[in-house]
């Protein structure tokens, strides 16, 4: 995969060209030209520069774009961290001294969830900006940016989900294995784990499990607590918890569905660079054709033709009228 760098000779040649132009210019200028010429041309160039800078300001949504890119890079790191933690958790012999790592994990999942939704919001900002953009090139640019960002977000989301699912699966299988050996301790062990899970509002990993294990856990918990009031309070708390989980899941669900809709055309003809370029050219050509048509319509404007004919006949008739009357 050989390459050749021609930048140096190019810059050398460019400098030479600029220099020779200057020398050439200096030689040829009379005093007046030397003094006045540049001055008279300066306003022009200043103006030109002015429009250039006006052109050069990046659109407002660039901030959102950069923000999203930053979020994405942070997300990547966080997800890596999380899977690392997962791995550590899995290799550890028991689940007894959980607190620190679990809390860390919990915090990470929460942060990741938040990052996803804020990233999504930023994408929405860019998308809205794209809709308001007047120039076609700018609009295209913004649309492309939205596409790129959403597919990156989706990729990360997928990675996050698979890592979560794997972790959950492995934990479960390990517990299965454990259960064989520690049938007696089952309830105790379960209580410990469920407690720690309940304390984290991470909807990801416990959601499905929660539903499967819920009734049984509740039973065991209920057996331990006699006080009806406390029971009520617990139930309410739990309901709130469940409501929270459902809410966040459906939120995320919505986000990912939306993202998937945005990037669905991977692998189709719409994802071909040459096809898209051809398409824009076809559009330009169509526009040109429409313009031409409009032009021809304008030229063959019947009304105007009619008016002209009528006006001519009126003039002629009035002329005749005058002629014959006098």
């Amino acid at each position: 995969m050989a390459t050749r760098n021609l930048t140096e000779p190019f810059i050398l040649m460019r400098n030479n060209a600029l220099q020779s132009k200057h020398i050439y210019a200096e030689q040829n200028l009379s005093d007046r030209m030397a003094l006045v010429g540049p001055d008279s041309s300066r306003p022009d160039s200043v103006e030109l520069k002015g429009t250039n800078t006006n052109d050069g300001t990046p659109p407002a949504w660039t901030d959102a774009l950069e923000e999203t890119q930053y979020i994405l890079s942070r997300l990547r790191i966080k997800i890596d961290n999380l899977s690392e933690l997962h791995a550590k958790q899995l290799t550890r012999p028991t689940l007894d001294d959980t607190s620190q790592e679990e809390r860390q994990m919990e915090q990470l999942t929460r942060e990741i969830g938040r990052a996803f939704s804020s990233g999504y919001q930023q994408v929405q900002i860019v998308k809205a900006a794209a809709r308001h953009e007047t120039r076609p090139a700018e609009r295209q640019l913004a649309n492309s940016a939205v596409l790129a960002l959403s597919s990156a977000l989706q990729d990360l989301g997928l990675r996050y989900r698979t890592s979560q699912a794997n972790y959950l699966q492995q934990i479960n299988s390990r517990e299965e294995r454990n259960r064989q050996y520690f049938t007696e301790d089952e309830t105790l062990l379960r209580n410990v784990t469920t407690d720690s899970w309940l304390s984290e509002p991470s909807y990801e990993e416990n959601s499905s499990d929660y539903w499967q294990q819920g009734p049984r856990q509740q039973e065991s918990v209920l057996l331990q607590i006699d006080d009806p009031e406390q029971r009520m309070r617990l139930a309410e708390e739990r309901e709130k918890e469940v409501g929270h989980i459902v809410q966040s899941i459906s939120d995320l669900n919505h986000i990912f569905k939306d993202l998937a809709n945005m990037v669905q055309d991977q692998g189709t003809i719409l994802d071909r660079i040459d096809y898209n370029i051809e398409q824009t050219q076809v559009q330009v050509y169509e526009g040109y054709k429409q313009l031409k048509k409009a032009d021809s319509y304008q030229k063959a404007n019947r009304k105007l033709y009619c008016i002209m004919v009528l006006a001519a006949s009126i003039i002629l008739l009035s002329f005749l009228f005058i002629l014959f009357k006098t």
């Binding site: 390459t3 050749r4 989980i245 990912f256 998937a260 055309d265 692998g267 898209n276």
Partner: protein
């Protein structure tokens, strides 16, 4: 030795060298195809390339100064002029210029003089100047490269550029062998050596693998592109025409809007990558499996009741979406293929084609051809195909009936464009000058092979034919290739076994040969073969090639046969 990864490397490097920030990619017609084959739009969007422009577009969008512009063009005169114009009135902030081939110093000077506002940051040569169709197959997109049986000068130039860029991108400084009987092969070989000599600095690689460049001429094997094909990729090309991995289905009846044109690329479609070399029957089977899997998944998707379902749905939704796209695409394509096969009796035609190309029973085959020519369901081009094959096979046979068959074709109302081909192809193949007959080449080896075949029986009557290329390459790998027929250029002679082989077919290669090379690569793990051609033929394009090649030559056969 993988042309697709080589191209991807170049394009990735191009997008990364300019650092972060939004970018626009400015290309010409050919580099657009080159980039599109290697990268999909969604992939390149992730590299922050958000806009694509053609440098030769008539109406260009207005300037966006906050963008970085990556220019990737071929170093032609027109492109340089257009780029000079662009630099004089820059539309974008900074420019990173990449030429797809070796550019002349004078052109760089022109550019340097136009760059008055100093917007250019980098100028590079990235040798991505060919269409990488599959990992072992490249093409140059030149149809009808010869005129009057010699090179068309512009096409010769393009071919030399294409091959040198392949060599540079793979970092190979090869020994060159060419087909002695072909004047075009010799000229091309000499031109390439000239370039290699001139640019010896660029070709200064460490050599361990003994690369060899073998230049062949399509004229030596005009049979392969005439045959109907039965492997997926080749079949799609023959019946529906693949153009830079795009297939146009717009003339299929009742097709939905998003399937009017589909992409068949091994890079982006796993199912296609796994199945492009399977034959038609097997494809039917795998499509069925794919369908079933899809249905199973679709059923799963129908019920989204609990939160667990919801979660599952979200996880698998993108994959599901992608899969549904793949399924509908391949089902449409295969459905269209099978309807075409049924409609035009292609099984019968192909059987006879294979017999014509592999066996010699003159009278029986003549009868069969006549019968098929009277069959109204056969397409005109298939009828022409059969007569062409017959003519190529039996032109030296004492009582051949080419004239009679031609009359039959004319009676059928076959357009003159096709009937002329019969003589043209004879002219093209140069049967009169050929020492060895294409149909009974290497008589002894063939007979033993036939005996073996007779013992084991033919396993598939539709794929009996093996391209001549296979034999040539097998000989080359075993170091048995005659140095008289395929001499080395210059007086270097390679003593060791070649490990990297680049074969170039002047006048276009075919997907059948691509499959053969793929198999050879699998059978010989020590050697890697890359196949290239001026283009990739099916019957239609080959007919054009033959017609172009033979215009302006004396019609020798017409007089003799009439």
């Amino acid at each position: 030795m993988n042309v697709v990864t080589a191209l991807k490397f170049y394009i990735t490097k191009m997008t990364e060298e300019s650092g972060p920030g939004m970018k626009v990619l400015l290309m010409d017609k050919q580099t657009t195809s080159i980039v599109s084959l290697a990268y999909s739009q969604s992939e390149i969007l992730l590299k922050e390339v958000y806009l694509f422009e053609r440098i030769d577009a008539t109406v260009r969008s207005d300037g966006l100064k906050h963008l970085k512009c990556i220019v990737f063009i071929r170093p032609t005169k027109e492109n340089v002029a257009l780029l000079c114009n662009e630099l004089r009135y820059p539309k974008y902030g900074v420019y990173y210029i990449y030429f797809s081939n070796i550019i002349a110093k004078a052109d760089i000077k022109l550019l340097a003089e136009s760059d008055e506002q100093e917007v250019v940051r980098e100028v590079h040569e990235f040798y991505a100047d060919y269409l990488a169709v599959s990992p072992h197959l490249f093409a140059l997109g030149i149809s009808a490269c010869s005129q009057g049986l010699t090179w068309n000068p512009t096409h010769l130039h393009r071919t030399v550029q294409g091959i040198t860029s392949v060599l540079l991108s793979l970092k190979k400084y090869p020994y060159i062998r060419y087909q002695h009987s072909s004047e075009m092969a010799k000229r091309l070989a000499e031109k390439i050596r000239e370039v290699l000599g001139k640019e010896s600095n660029s070709f200064n690689f460490r050599q361990e693998s003994n690369p060899i460049l073998l230049i062949l001429d399509r004229r030596d094997d005009p049979i392969t592109p005439l045959l109907n094909q039965w492997t997926y990729q080749a079949m799609v090309h023959e019946l529906l025409t693949i153009n830079n991995n795009r297939v146009d289905l717009s003339n299929v009846k009742g097709i939905s809007k998003e399937l009017k044109e589909v992409v068949l690329s091994g890079e982006h479609d796993e199912f296609y990558a796994n199945n492009l070399y399977l034959n038609f029957g097997e494809i039917g089977q795998t499509i069925k499996e794919l369908m079933e899997e899809f249905q199973r998944k679709a059923k799963k998707h129908q019920k989204v009741e609990s939160i667990a379902d919801m979660k599952n749905f979200v996880e698998t939704y993108p994959m599901f979406k992608k899969m549904s796209g793949t399924v509908s695409k391949h089902v449409t394509v295969v459905g269209e293929l099978s309807s075409l096969v049924g409609q035009y009796d292609l099984l019968k035609v192909s059987e006879l084609e294979q017999e014509l190309s592999c066996q010699s029973e003159h009278s029986a085959q003549l009868q069969k051809i006549k019968r098929l020519l009277n069959n109204p369901r056969i397409r005109d081009i298939d009828a022409t195909r059969l007569v062409m094959l017959y003519a190529l096979h039996y032109v030296k046979h004492t009582n051949n009936d080419i004239t009679g068959l031609l009359d039959m074709l004319k009676k059928r109302g076959v357009p003159e464009k096709y009937t002329k081909l019969i003589h043209n192809v004879l002219e093209y193949s140069g049967v009169h000058t050929r020492q060895s007959n294409l149909f009974d080449r290497e008589a002894v080896a063939k007979i033993t092979k036939k005996l073996f075949k007779g013992l084991s029986g033919v396993d598939n009557i539709y794929t009996q034919h093996t391209p001549l290329l296979v034999e040539t390459l097998e000989d080359l790998i075993k170091e048995k290739l005659s140095t008289q027929v395929f001499p080395y250029l210059g007086n270097m002679i390679m003593s060791r076994r070649p490990h990297d082989i680049i074969v170039f077919m002047i006048g276009g290669t075919t997907y059948e040969e691509s499959l053969a090379v793929h198999n050879l690569n699998k059978q010989n793990p020590g050697t890697k073969i890359i196949l290239g051609g001026t283009t990739i033929h099916n019957f239609e394009s080959f007919a054009e090639e033959v017609q172009h090649a033979t215009t302006g030559t004396a019609p020798r056969y017409r007089t003799r046969n009439n």
